[in-house]
């Protein structure tokens, strides 16, 4: 299959402007500036069925169309580069290797929604990636592609990078906006939605890095070409972040709808140590786990994964073999959300910590049978009852791990210790 988002693997130094331009770079922008109206751009992206790659899978063209036409306030585009979902590492490679692809996507998005300012909200740890993107912005500015009078069109866009300070919640659309405004990243109540009242009270589009880097290709080659890749309702090239117990973990560009089985056993080279597959989290740690049986049947696109009972999220595929202690795994997930809950809403603030404490007890052999129902109760009480979905991001894994691997949880309780560890707490599995 032709590499689209990961062209850098075939084209050395694609991150440099001259190389990028030599391979058709910024031609989509030229088309968007001179041959298309903003409406036509939005319609093209709508027709392409491009869906947000940040995890929520919302149709990008539809999101853009929510921006009020002729807004009296400035319109902002925010590029969400706060990639922090556990098991996800696509944006960082794009920022390192194809920054101009992202910049071109940003510029086209700005043209579509009438914005003259883009903020790239980048996670604080991305120091190197920030340098790479900044270099590319500087290059593009020097070449008249960013700033005033882009390509002589009279259109103007400035791009600023804002570095985060290390909180997962800043990747949540409205938490990002609060943080961008210099406030504590407490996600906002919706309505009002960012399209009406986003950054600094103005209409704002927030798009993920990967979403934006799809845009130039759609403008260049058309919505019909794009829809021909993968399932029509959930099409396009997709970056899969394969991690865990596979022989060849890494970033893979594959068409949407690619079978998970082939991802693990084909491109992923099979299970590490040729052991049995125990489970797969398909979309970053926030989503329900698939048992081995479920995983082998599912195709990796938004609708198929949803139909199978989980969500594709960021396509951070985490593979677990038979030696994985699922209690320990879930405890690790809970630790993350406990640590990253912003603490604004009561159920999430209190529930995440409670779940981690219960799972720590279970893992360390102090658990009780009634704890299993309590874990479900807490999860049910958290889910859907908060401003953002961070609470759901823990309750979904809990509600899938506990029933799907119940016997393992019960073993911990019965034995009074983790069966995967010896009495000293060391892993009982030979490395």
């Amino acid at each position: 299959m032709e590499r689209i988002l990961t062209r850098w693997l075939d084209i050395p130094d694609l991150r440099k402007l001259e190389v990028y331009r030599a391979h058709g770079g910024y031609e989509a922008l030229r088309k968007a500036l001179f041959d298309m109206t903003p409406e036509q751009i939005i319609n093209e992206v709508k027709n392409s069925n491009l869906r947000g790659r940040g995890g929520a899978a919302f149709p990008t063209g539809v999101k853009w169309s929510f921006i009020p036409k002729e807004s009296k306030k400035p319109v902002y585009v925010c590029c969400n580069a706060d990639e922090a979902e556990p098991g996800t590492f696509a944006n960082r490679y794009e920022l390192e290797n194809d920054p101009h692809g992202i910049i071109e996507g940003i510029l086209i998005a700005c043209r579509a929604v009438g914005s003259h300012t883009c903020y790239v909200y980048m996670r604080g740890e991305f120091a190197f990636q920030k340098e790479r993107l900044q270099e590319a912005i500087d290059e593009a500015r020097a070449a008249g592609l960013v700033g005033k009078n882009i390509m002589g069109s009279g259109f103007e866009v400035d791009i600023w990078i804002h570095r985060g300070a290390g909180a997962y919640i800043c990747g949540e659309e409205t938490g990002l906006l609060e943080s961008l405004e210099g406030k504590r990243a407490y996600p906002r109540n919706r309505p009002p939605f960012p399209a009406i009242q986003g950054a600094f009270g103005s209409p704002t589009v927030v798009n993920n890095v990967e979403t934006l880097s799809n845009v130039p290709h759609i403008i260049n080659r058309g919505a019909d070409w794009y829809k021909s890749i993968g399932p029509e309702k959930s099409p396009g090239p997709k970056l899969f972040c394969l991690s865990g117990h596979v022989k060849l973990p890494g970033l893979y560009e594959l068409p949407m709808g690619f079978p998970l089985k082939d991802l693990i056993y084909g491109v992923g080279g099979g299970i590490l140590g040729d052991r049995q597959l125990k489970g797969v989290i398909p979309g970053g740690s926030s989503f329900p786990v698939f048992t081995a049986e479920e995983a082998l049947k599912v195709n990796m696109d938004f609708d198929s994964v949803r139909a199978a009972g989980s969500l594709m999220g960021t396509a951070g595929v985490m593979v677990m073999n038979e030696d994985t202690c699922m209690v320990d795994m879930l405890k690790t997930v809970a630790h993350f959300y406990h640590h990253e809950s912003c603490g604004q809403c009561t159920p999430c603030r209190e529930g995440c910590g409670w779940i981690e404490k219960l799972l720590t007890d279970l893992e360390e052999g102090r658990g009780k049978m009634e704890d299993l129902q309590l874990l479900i109760d807490i999860s049910v009480n958290m889910e859907g009852n908060t401003i953002c979905v961070l609470a759901d991001s823990l309750s979904m894994p809990v509600k899938s791990f506990v029933p799907k691997y119940r016997s393992e949880f019960e073993d911990h309780i019965r034995l009074g210790r983790c069966p995967f560890k010896d009495r000293n707490g060391k892993s009982a599995i030979a490395a």
């Binding site: 406990h338 603490g343 604004q344 159920p347 910590g353 009480n381 401003i387």
Partner: protein
């Protein structure tokens, strides 16, 4: 006006209000912590989640605008489950130290637990997140971070109302805590309001802590006498002692708030110097006596001066601390019974107090200057008084709630009023003037009286008596009625409502206002600005 249904009852709600407010129109309380009508809506506590038909999940009623045909269920199984869940979450890390918590009895965690939760804890006590306790954070505010439900009412009050932003939320997740910035304590004149709006025991009042369990306190609706704003208050008292003032909502005057000076105003009313019996000067000393004796003596003094020098040899000065009813009763006593038109007002503010700010505090510390003006009692010109005294025209002065020695200075007082034949002081305390008076008549402070104040904008608000004046002291209007009866033998009105009715009938500025209509938010003078 969208029409919506809440718990099967239809209501026409004004456009743009939220479900919690619409429910209130029907008398349905939706429990909540973070929502406060005078602050922004953060939607963080999740206590007000309700089931709304056609919504995919429960909605917070504080941030959901009413729409036509909306159907809300505040008693459904789903709503109740969410309420229980939120309370359970709120309580897992709460220290449950109610027995030693000052908020007990007026705590929304206690109240809502009993009403909406009422289940045993599923969380072991030893696993709670521990935070700071009994931290003085400035002003009169004590902080207990463990009891805090992080509703952010206090941070929003300092951000949005006082714009001083002393408090913020620090840390993250279940380690979130309210705190000040290091080295920058709470320092504004409205800090006490965060104690009122804190729904739990996280913020308590340093002065009030451990003085009195709140369930022993009685409440009287009244008006703060600390300045001419006249913030509506509730007086919390027990056995003749005031323990605290709490602001009472009045959209026309103070919204939900009051200043810290006003909050502590009652402390100036409970001094050791309070008078508990009429006093008569005998040689160097003031000696207690019966009211009947005192009133008769003052009356006979008035009668004899009237005979010798005419009624205008008697004058009166009334302080703008007096209620409308006291001022009116004294004015009528002077005009109708004594027959003198010499009555003036003194509106005195001691030095060193806060000046006007652009919120509630006023530089004039008299609660009723406007009311006295409105009934035609002009400010006293002491130079004019001095002339009449010097000329032998004024022989006797009745000073009511007017500590003239403090107002004028001792030297000036002796110079101007020293030649008087007779000085009567009607007041609450044995102040400087009392030492100079021939006769002292004890009356109650404003919390001890029924009546009304007129604030600087012409808003007339009602005071309800919290308890009787101490000892043999009478209310101001009773004292005036006593003097009146001693003078002419007739009954004089001594009940605030009756006096106010006369006042409204005879003073044009007060026309059309009825005493009953003064509750709860008062009424405006015709000439109000």
């Amino acid at each position: 006006m969208p029409k919506l249904t809440i718990d099967g009852k239809e209501v026409d709600a004004p456009d743009g209000i939220n479900v919690i407010e619409a429910a209130e129109l029907l008398g349905i309380e939706i429990p909540h912590y973070c929502y406060h009508p005078a602050l922004s809506v953060p939607g963080n506590c999740r206590m007000c989640l309700v089931e709304i038909e056609k919504a995919p999940k429960l909605q917070i009623s504080c941030n959901t605008k009413v729409t036509e045909g909306m159907v809300v269920h505040t008693q459904s199984a789903k709503t109740k489950a969410a309420q229980r869940a939120v309370l359970e979450f709120l309580l897992i890390n709460h220290p449950i130290d109610c027995p030693v918590c000052d908020q007990a009895g007026e705590c929304k965690l206690q109240d809502y637990y009993m009403e909406y939760d009422d289940q045993p804890s599923r969380f072991p006590l030893e696993k709670k997140v521990r935070k700071g306790k009994a931290i003085p954070i400035g002003s009169d505010v004590m902080l207990d971070q463990e009891r805090c439900v992080l509703c952010a009412r206090c941070t929003r009050f300092f951000d949005e109302v006082t714009h001083t932003s002393e408090l913020a939320i620090f840390e993250r997740g279940d380690h979130n805590e309210i705190d000040i910035y290091p080295g920058h304590p709470v320092n504004n004149k409205y800090a006490g309001n965060v104690i009122d709006i804190c729904p739990v025991g996280a913020l308590t009042e340093k002065d009030f802590r451990f003085r009195m369990r709140v369930w022993y306190l009685h409440r009287a609706t009244s008006v703060c006498g600390g300045c001419e704003r006249g913030c509506a208050i509730d007086i919390h008292h027990q056995r003749g002692r005031i323990y605290r003032y709490k602001p009472r909502y009045n959209p026309e005057v103070n919204s939900y708030w009051m200043c810290d000076e006003g909050r502590h105003h009652f402390t100036t009313l409970q001094n050791e110097t309070r008078l508990t019996a009429p006093l008569v000067q005998q040689g160097e000393h003031l000696v207690p006596e019966e009211w009947s004796v005192a009133a008769r003596r003052v009356a006979s003094q008035i009668e004899s001066l009237k005979k010798s020098f005419g009624p205008r040899s008697i004058g009166a000065i009334i302080g703008a601390q007096a209620t409308n009813e006291e001022a009116f009763a004294l004015k009528r006593l002077m005009l109708d019974t004594v027959g003198s038109d010499r009555i003036a007002m003194v509106s005195y503010t001691p030095p060193g107090l806060s000046g006007d700010d652009n919120f509630l505090i006023r530089a004039n510390k008299n609660p009723n200057t406007r009311g006295l003006e409105a009934m035609g009692i002009a400010p006293a010109r002491f130079d004019e008084f001095a002339k009449t005294v010097a000329a032998g025209e004024l022989k006797m002065l009745i000073a009511m709630r007017a500590d003239l020695v403090t107002v004028m200075g001792e030297t000036e007082f002796i110079r101007d009023f020293g030649p008087l034949d007779y000085l009567v002081l009607i007041d609450t305390d044995a102040n400087e003037t009392a030492q100079m008076a021939n006769q002292v008549l004890p009356i109650g402070a404003y919390p001890e009286t029924n009546g009304s104040f007129t604030n600087f904008k012409g808003r007339v608000q009602r005071l309800s008596q919290a308890f009787s004046p101490p000892g043999d002291a009478l209310t101001g209007i009773e004292a005036i009625a006593r003097l009146g009866r001693a003078l002419d033998g007739a009954e004089h009105a001594s009940e605030a409502g009756a006096i106010f009715t006369q006042l409204a009938a005879s003073e044009p500025a007060f026309a059309g206002i009825s005493f009953d209509a003064l509750m709860p938010y008062g009424a405006s003078l015709k000439t109000a600005t």
